[in-house]
Each structure stands twice: as C-alpha cells, then as structure tokens.
C-alpha cells in the first residue's frame, strides 16, 4: 500500500509540472500572436455584437497550423489556444500510461474512455 501512495504522489508531481508547462507555453504563444495581430489590425474597429462564426482556417487543427506558419496573428493566437486545450488532454494521456505502469487496468480503461471523448471533441466533431 505504501508503494502505491508513493507512486501516486510521484505521478501527481509530474502531472503538476506538465500542466504548468502547458499553460505557460500556451500563454507565451497567445501573447506573441497578440502582438502580431494588434500590429496589423490594432486600428480597425472592433465589433463582435453579431455572430458570424470564425472562418474555416481558424477552426481546424491543420488550418490553424498553416496560418500560424504564415505568421497570421489570429492563427498564432488560435495555436496558443489549441495548446491550452491540448494541455488537459496530455494530462489524461499521461494518466493512462501511469495507471498502466501501476497495473491498475480498471483505471487504464476509464482513462482511455475520457481520452477518447476529448479526442472526439477536438478532432472528430466536424
């Protein structure tokens, strides 16, 4: 029992580091995108009172990555937000591996279910 709680604690420390890194990375990318975006579009009139929906290029993972490579400020911001959304997903994926190392197969399955739901939302819900 004592080895299990020691393992749990170690896993929690790694998860903590993973979450912190993900959030910092996402915030830095969003900040870079903000500078590029405001440098180009800062003096345009802001109006979000009617809903248009974002263009296709800012909705999908591939579109966002392509836009960011072309230094589009909006796409770089979306890339940062994508990294942020991916952070809890990475945490869940890591937990699945950790439960497998602990041979807790019930929780491997529970975790894989959560991971599948997250991946469906991010990639499969078009």
């Amino acid at each position: 029992m004592s080895t299990r709680s020691w393992n749990d604690l170690r896993i929690e420390v790694i998860i903590g580091a993973l979450l912190r890194t993900g959030v910092i990375l996402a915030a830095v990318v969003v900040l870079i995108g903000a500078v590029v975006y405001l440098a180009h579009h800062g003096h345009e009139v802001a109006n979000y009172s009617t809903f248009h929906g974002e263009p296709e290029a800012l909705r999908s993972v591939t579109g966002i990555v392509q836009g960011a490579l072309h230094m589009s400020g909006r796409a770089i911001i979306q890339l940062g937000l994508l990294l942020l959304i991916a952070t809890p997903v990475a945490r869940v994926a890591f937990s699945a591996v950790a439960f497998a190392i602990e041979r807790d197969y019930l929780y491997v399955w529970i975790t894989l279910f959560v991971l599948a739901v997250l991946l469906y939302s991010l990639l499969g819900s078009h």
């Binding site: 979000y48 929906g53 400020g73 911001i77 529970i110 939302s121």
Partner: protein, 278 residues
C-alpha cells in the same frame, strides 16, 4: 472603439474577474460571460467560447499547485470525468441549437444559485463513514494529509454524485463555465468527500471538462481569437495575482461583495434574456 482599446479594456476586466475569482474561490469564469455580453455587447456564443478557454487556463494553473500538496484524488477525478466530459459535449451540442437569449436565462439562474451556495457555511462531515461496495470496487477511497498525519476517508453516494457530475458537465459545455459550485456540491454533499479533497479534485477536473466542450466550440467557429486572447491572458494573470495575495487578504467581506455582484449580474442576464436583448 478600435481593436487595441477593445482588447485592453477586455483584458483589464478579465484581470479583475480572475483576481476576484481566485481570491473568493468562486472562479473568474462566472463573471466573464456576463461582462462580455452586458458591458461589451459581445455575442454570447463568442463570450462562452472565450470563457471556456480562460477556465482551462486557470484550472490547469491552479491544479499544478494543488496536486503537489497531495489533497486531490486522481481516481475520483478520472472516474467522475467520464460523466463530466460526456455531459460537456452534450451541453455544447445543446448550445449550438438554442438561442442566445435562452442561454442567458439559464446562465442567470446558475449565477443566482452560485451566489446562494457561496453564502452558506459548509460543515465538515464529522465521523468516519463505512465504505460502500461500489466505492471500494472503483478504488475511490483514499487518504489526505492533515495536521495530525494522514487521514483516511470513504466515499459515499457514488450514483447520485455521478449524476450530479453529468449535470455539472452539461452546464459547463452550455455556459462556458467551470461549474465548480456544482462539482463541489456533488462531491461534498452527495459523496461525503472531505473539503480539501473535493475542492482540489474539482479544480483538477474543471480543465478536462472544459477541454471536452472547447474542442467542439473551436470546430464550430465559436472561439474568436480577438476575444479569447485578452480574456485568457487577463483571467490567467488575475488569478495568479489573486492566488498570491490570498493569504493576506480579508476574504470574508470580499466574498459577500463578489456574491452581491454575481446576484446583480444574474438578474441582468435573466432580464436581458427574457426581453430578447442578447
């Protein structure tokens, strides 16, 4: 208003929301959507998308600090996330099909309920409860550090807690909030989990729940970089500052003030939704 002014004002408002949310433990997400919709006249769907993103940022940032202290229970969290993530996708799917005004009314009711919950004093369950069969099978019972060493606890009411968690997920996906109040209610009242464990585990779960609906919102074009950027950076900075001054501040008075603000925003949202102004 040009984009620089617009971004700066939203970032400032979000900073304040994140700061007060962290200080009072009520979360900044609940006031971000009303602020954007009522003050900045942002379409509620864009507001919800931006709020979801900020919820992931604060939850993950705070969870990083909590997990080290050993209070959160990763098995309880993961098991209940099967309910909250499915609920969140259901909530996001509902949001795509109902009007902004209907969402505003539900939002207002949830705000009033959150304020009501925060005004009540929570009482820690005194004696040790016997373990239930389901909780034992699912290995949910655990231990947490106290002043007098490691304290063990048993989990009760798994089915009712699981049902409440599904509801928390639906609200999170529908309204773009963390639903921390409902999550803590499920773990605290239904499952009789100690405060420290339920609060930290709830925070831990909020990020995963929000990520489940954020993916759907992104795919549908509801996450706008121009709004999500100042909201995310503002709320994140505010909550980090809030967590630092938390120890020194007189939180009790502030909690009442913040709860009062939430009540006013709740009535505003219901009124504007009912009269079709959003």
């Amino acid at each position: 208003m040009n984009t620089i002014e617009f971004s700066a004002l939203i970032a400032l408002g979000s900073l304040l929301a994140g700061f007060l949310g962290a200080l009072t433990g009520l979360g900044g997400g609940v006031v971000v959507v009303p602020m954007l919709a009522l003050l900045f006249h942002v379409d509620i769907r864009y507001a919800i998308g931006a709020s979801l993103v900020s919820v992931i940022a604060t939850s993950s940032g705070a969870a990083a600090a909590y997990v080290r202290e050993g209070y959160s229970n990763i098995r309880i969290g993961m098991f209940l996330e099967t309910a909250t993530t499915v609920g969140a996708i259901a909530g996001a799917a509902i949001a795509l099909h109902v009007s902004g005004n209907a969402i505003a009314i539900v939002f207002g009711l949830v705000l009033l309920y959150s304020a009501f919950l925060s005004s009540r004093n929570r009482v820690e369950h005194g004696e040790h409860m016997p373990a239930t069969k389901l909780a034992t099978t699912l290995r949910l019972n655990g231990t947490y550090p106290t002043d007098g060493g490691m304290q063990s606890y048993n989990v009760r009411g798994v089915p009712s807690g699981y049902g409440l968690m599904f509801g928390a997920g639906v609200l999170s996906g529908l309204l773009g909030i963390g639903s921390g109040a409902v999550k803590v209610l499920a773990m605290d009242q239904a499952m009789k989990i100690p405060f420290k464990v339920s609060t930290t585990t709830s925070n831990f779960m909020i990020g995963v729940t929000a990520a489940a609906s954020a993916g759907l919102y992104l795919n549908r074009g509801y996450i706008s970089p121009g709004i999500a950027m100042p909201v995310m950076l503002g709320v994140l900075a505010g909550s980090l500052i809030g967590a630092r001054v938390l120890v020194k501040a007189r939180v009790k008075v502030l909690r009442y003030v913040f709860a009062a603000v939430i009540v006013v925003l709740g009535f505003e949202m219901i009124f504007n939704g009912a009269t079709g102004r959003l």
